[in-house]
Amino acid sequence: MRAGIDMRHITLTLMRDDLPRASLVLAELEAFAPDERPLLESELPEIPGTAFRARMRRAWGHLDRLASVLGELPDTAPDKPRALLSREQLIEIDRWLAEAWQHCSPCEDGLHRLEDEFRDLRHLEQSLNDFADLDVDLSRLQGGKGLLDIRIGSIPADNLDRLSEVLALSQHLILNVSGEGEALRIVIAGTQQTAEILDRVLLAAAYQALTIPESFDDNPDALRAELQTRRSDLEQQCAQWRSRMAGWLKLNGEQLRQAKQLLEAAEPYVHLHGAARSRGSLAALQGWIPGSRLDAVESALQKNLSQPFLLQSRSPRSDEMHLVPVPVKTRGILKPFSLLVQQYGVPRFGEFDPTILFAVTFAGMFGMMFGDVGHGAVIVITGILLRRRLHSFTYLFALAGASAMLFGWLYGSVFGVEHWLHPLWIAPMSDPIYMLTVALGWGVAFLTLGSAIAIVNRLLSGDQAGAFFGPGGVLPLILYFALLGGLVNLAQGNDFPIVATAVIAITLTILIAHQWHSSDAPYGERIMITIIETYEIINGYATSSLSFLRVAAFSLNHVALSLAVFTLADTMDTVGHWIVIVLGNLFVIVLEGFIVAIQTLRLEYYEGFSRYFYGDGKPFKPLRVGRTQTY
């Protein structure tokens, strides 16, 4: 249950020539996370592969740009044994890719130019439509005529307000605005005297003038035909560029694929960074490995490395606990719960891993709030039917649905009908106060368990003050129990016990004293911090306990909603009755099921995790083959 507890720190001492091969072997096993601390700096001062890394980066840069022009590059063959990339091969690949880019970049430029021309053409066509009803020769309007300076063009819509304001200040006017979306077409009028100023403002406003052809004074049909011809021309040029690209890819696709495969195989080596160090022909590699994979790693290295090596492993030291990466569960029934835990945080090394507890309590609370055999069965079946889309979340559906079925059996509820099954435990509506008491009891148990885990976690991480005085620590827990005991006594009609009063007074005094001493803020702020922090501890327990009443409230809500559906159905004829029953049940399953899932998650995160889970651990990210990390 303690996260990553079998992690080992390893140092692999080997010959420098074997370093690329060793990194590839480790990456293929996906069992090694590099440790870049300069622990070996004094014995092995160099970081190997610096020049290689720079060259790799350049080569990937060329390849990425080629991919942006050519589209998806051919995939590498997964079953082919991976070849190591030598320095000479890398230089050759980099050179070839640079030449390939030189060959392809004019195509990219050409396509961008054509895109711009298409945009201009579109604006021209739209302008033609804008001015279709006016008897104006646009070609005469464009540019300067006498004292008047008129411009027709387009600007980004975001710039219109600012441009209008500034043009007004420089005696220009925007006469007409049309179009919608990101670019607007505008007509600007002003005097020739200020034309130069206008040019500069328009440049700052990313204005683009429309080039209106001489023939714009021609009749509209001839004009449209001319624009259509221009469009066809552009489409033809576009097709030519694309066909040129396709031809190049056909000729060079295989070489491109090989280059990509070699670069991918060299990725683990370049991502070692400072985790690999060397001096002369000797090198060492350090990192973290799950203890259970140690034997597999050693035998794979023995099989693949040509020269001798030494693999040493040790447990993490106390001063490096915060650096140890923790593997997260990525397979099996716990995967969806692990993903939800990771939404909150990654367990610290040695911390209690909440995944199993989360899975059990999530399913339990969901079932208690949504107890119904029929509705639970629908959730299970939906999960199974949608398993291809839901992937690992199918398990979550199955578990939550099964729990709802179990509680449905305990409540005696099938699709909201409470007389088909005899309840094994209790029908919620028969005694709401009892249900609320059970929910509160469950909340107290949940919070106590959370606090106990928090105390253990803090003690394990050496935070003794936190374990005793922090929220959820020993003293706040004693204070909580004393308050709870006193209130239970009061509720039963007795007095608030003197023992409870004494315990509350003592624990509060100690907590206040601790808060006061642990703050080094100025006097006034210290008082504020002490009051707020102590208030937070008491308030936290009180509100969290009451928060669990929702577990009972939703179980009652479920019955009430079903009753509403049946009451409505009873007012209909036979057909209407069954339509309302089916739609009503669907409504309950979808809407209430969704709300209950969110409420359960909320209880887990806010009342559980926030109490005991640090969640600031480092996820174990093993070295992998392929391009999975950035430089």
Partner: protein
């Protein structure tokens, strides 16, 4: 109750973090220290590297990371519009990265050199610097940027750059878009938060507009209308018509005569732009210090703290940098406090 406790959390956090802000006297003590003492005090001595230059880069990134960690801690209880506003403030450093990339590409610097000037930013600021670095020129860089959340900005910048390849036009576009978005997010806040945060942002924008408008107009010789277009909306005392009055003046001195009453340093503004910049900065910091302690809006206090903290981090870096490279006391004092040096 939740809102009250969240505000209390933020205030408490700020009270604790506020002790990290160094006073003028504390900075003076740092300046007076020997390199060894300074290294120990600033924890520069814990940073290893192949050379001093490499250590300084790591040091700068460590300081930046500290700032971002503090930002993350302060973001925790904030939700909705307040959270979005602060997240956007952090993207200021992404904008600075884009500017550095553009300048590097214009200057045709090698990628390794450009990279040294970039901030390493956390996950929620997720620009892929590698793809932007691996471009041949500014146009290609901006085309890559069009494939990121900065698409609108890149499209405008590309149009302007293709018409006239002036780096300052790109800088101005980036700033305009950044502050435009920031003010837009501030308008989504409600009540006290909105009024208080706009007052703070307005002062930041005033400083930016004044300094850059004067630079564009009197150093670069741009037309008043063009400068007005490049100004950022949302200033507190310097709106566009006020700026217009100033910028129609023929000289810098004459323009300063038209400064409105609300501008800090009015009547005693220095006549050199770097000193004007320092004056506006000092006034902003004085306002931010008051707002951090007394603003009724916790969000404004947080933003004020972040502004002050970032400035403090910068000053610390400047001192260490100067000492490592053995710069003279005179140069260091001028870099830290140009107004004081000028008076001396």
């Amino acid at each position: 109750v939740r809102r009250f406790t969240d505000q209390a959390y933020v205030r408490t956090r700020l009270a604790i973090m506020g002790t990290k802000l160094l006073s003028r006297e504390e900075f003076a003590k740092l300046v007076a220290m020997s390199l060894d003492e300074l290294s120990a005090a600033s924890r520069f001595d814990t940073i290893s590297g192949e050379s001093n230059a490499a250590r300084l880069i790591t040091f700068e990134r460590t300081l930046m990371q500290t700032w971002l960690d503090e930002l993350s801690a302060l973001l925790r209880p904030l939700k909705g519009s307040a959270r979005r506003l602060l997240t956007h403030w952090a993207s200021r450093y992404e904008v600075l990265n884009i500017k550095a990339l553009v300048r590097g590409k214009i200057g045709q610097l090698p990628n390794e050199e450009i990279e040294k000037t970039l901030f390493r930013l956390p996950g929620f600021l997720s620009l892929n610097h590698d793809q932007l670095l691996n471009t041949d020129n500014v146009v290609e860089l901006l085309r890559q940027l069009q494939k990121t959340p900065y698409q609108r900005l890149a499209t405008q910048a590309l149009r302007r750059y293709e018409e006239r390849p002036d780096p300052f036009l790109l800088d101005a576009t980036l700033d305009q878009q950044f502050y435009g978005e920031l003010i837009d997010r501030a308008h989504h806040l409600s009540g006290t938060d909105r009024a208080e945060i706009l007052a703070l942002i307005g002062r930041i924008v005033d400083g930016h507009n004044l300094v850059w408008s004067l630079r564009y107009r009197y150093n670069y010789g741009l037309q008043a209308s063009e400068v007005l277009y490049l100004a950022i909306d949302g200033g507190r005392a310097l709106d566009r018509s006020r700026l217009q009055e100033m910028l129609h003046a023929d000289t810098l001195a004459e323009a300063l005569g038209h400064l409105p009453d609300g501008v800090p340093g009015h009547g005693e503004m220095p006549r050199q732009i770097p000193l004007i910049e320092a004056t506006m900065r000092n006034e902003l910091f004085a306002y931010a210090t008051r707002a951090m302690r007394h603003s009724p809006s916790a969000l404004t206090s947080v933003l004020s703290y972040l502004v002050l903290r970032y400035s403090g981090i910068n000053q610390l870096y400047t001192i260490v940098h100067a000492r490592v490279y053995g710069l003279s006391d005179e140069l260091l004092h001028e870099a830290l406090d140009p107004l004081h040096e000028e008076a001396a």
